[in-house]
Point group: C2
Chain length 276, copies 2
């Protein structure tokens, strides 16, 4: 199957002709409104309805960041914001993947209802995604689910954004890969499982996301350098780098203090050792 | 060592006060001028001198793309463009990493001379990087080499950009990772070596870059889906997706035809199979 990407202008024309509702997953980058691409800014200004999942906990900060982005980049305010109540997610579930799937299906059903009632035929809806919709975000899968259900006819498009991984590298001023080397991007849970089985010597560069337990503390004495960052792209950004054995305690302490002060933490890190 | 990132405005002020030359590695995204971030556009407009490595082969197309970016995003033309002759790289060398290192050292020496002669104290120089400077690009390492040599005093900063990997995912409208899964980003050469040793069952999602030999042809019959893209982000973009066994011959043929027609090819792909 060959799909030729249509230039943006034709895509706009076609959607209008077809009279199909369109939903954009717009990556807005990790925190800083300056991280939006020109493409994302232009997309924002075509949107009739922004669908926002109503979050708990870290919701207030995210709301404020979203408002800052719209205020700066779509000042015309020709859009509406529609809140979609977020289902509660079972974070203690042992079957993590199944729990995520259930939660996503429920989210899809709620978003589907909101699209049906709030977006007119030919209208453009959007979901703003922190970082990049392609990395550790469920929006693309939710839209796929709605399309599979077939209740609402929908076209969709993904607009990439700068992820926190990229900010981590940029602000530490290091590449993510070594010369001709590979990089593994992994959630903390999966790295922990991998460590239990033993880490292959050929794995030298690891980016760790969503790691509530700082699995890196189990990697002392193995020649790793660590580049750690919290609240990347925001005014509260903190970076720590150095030989893992030397700085990991500092990272553990800093992370705990930041989390207590702000009520939530969002961090990631790159682990690197010499290639064999 | 804790490094607190300075907000952009202070960083600008400090550099002027210190009277140190600054060189920015600016990620301009993969091809389309719309992919620049607002941060990158603002950076472009602070630049006194753009240093451009003079390439062979694909040079003409890249030159044109660079001109298009500057014309659109820095129309004031308050900058100069300085060409730095590119050393010839031994692409046949058996010691690939060593060859890359030699070539980088020579590039660093040439850039250093250009910075010394063309950039005044307190001036801002820049190197435009296709995609993201953090992924399979040598610019950060070249700047590190210049700083280590210590001949020219230099401050540097990295501005992230949308990589072709992100366009690959966005235009195929798929995430790079499965739910709670990891992703390996790897050059083709390294994947070939890995396949010779046998691919671990836990490796289910692989992004392959810089793969002259389409190593994916060796993965028939293993349940992979492939998302392939060439000239991502440009008007010539081509996408092919499907079960690897079904579409890989089409990819091989399309890639050969495109390469013949244009004289060069730039492509990447995502391999995906069910998580065990």
């Amino acid at each position: 199957m060959v799909i030729k990407q249509l230039p943006g202008v034709w895509w706009g024309v076609l959607c209008t002709v077809w009279d199909v509702r369109t939903v954009l997953a717009i990556g807005v980058g990790a925190g800083d409104p300056e991280l939006l691409t020109v493409q994302a800014v232009e997309a924002l200004n075509r949107v009739d309805v922004f669908f926002v999942f109503d979050k708990g906990e870290s919701g207030a900060d995210l709301d404020e960041a979203r408002r800052a982005i719209l205020l700066r980049h779509a000042p015309g305010e020709k859009y509406r914001v529609v809140e979609v109540p977020d289902p509660r997610r079972d974070r203690q579930a042992s079957a993590y993947t199944a729990a995520v799937t259930d939660w996503r299906d429920e989210r899809a059903a709620r978003l589907e209802r909101a699209i049906e009632t709030e977006l007119t035929d030919g209208g453009v809806g959007a979901i703003l995604v922190w970082g990049d919709p392609a990395l550790y975000d469920g929006t693309i899968r939710i839209l796929d689910t709605i399309i599979e259900r077939g209740v609402v006819e929908l076209d969709h498009r993904v607009i990439p954004g700068i992820s926190s991984i990229q900010l981590l590298a940029a602000h530490h001023r290091v590449p993510l890969n070594q010369v001709a080397g590979s990089v593994v991007v992994t959630p903390g849970r999966l790295l922990a499982r991998q460590l239990a089985r033993g880490l292959d010597d050929t794995v030298t560069d690891i980016v760790v996301m969503l790691d509530a337990e700082l699995v890196c503390t189990r990697l002392r004495g193995q020649g790793f350098t660590i580049y750690w960052g919290a609240y990347l792209g925001s005014d509260d950004e903190v970076l720590i780098a150095g030989e893992l054995d030397q700085v990991v305690d500092d990272i553990v302490r800093t992370r705990r203090e930041l989390r207590e002060r702000k009520g939530w933490i969002m961090d990631s890190y790159l682990l690197r050792r010499a290639r064999t």
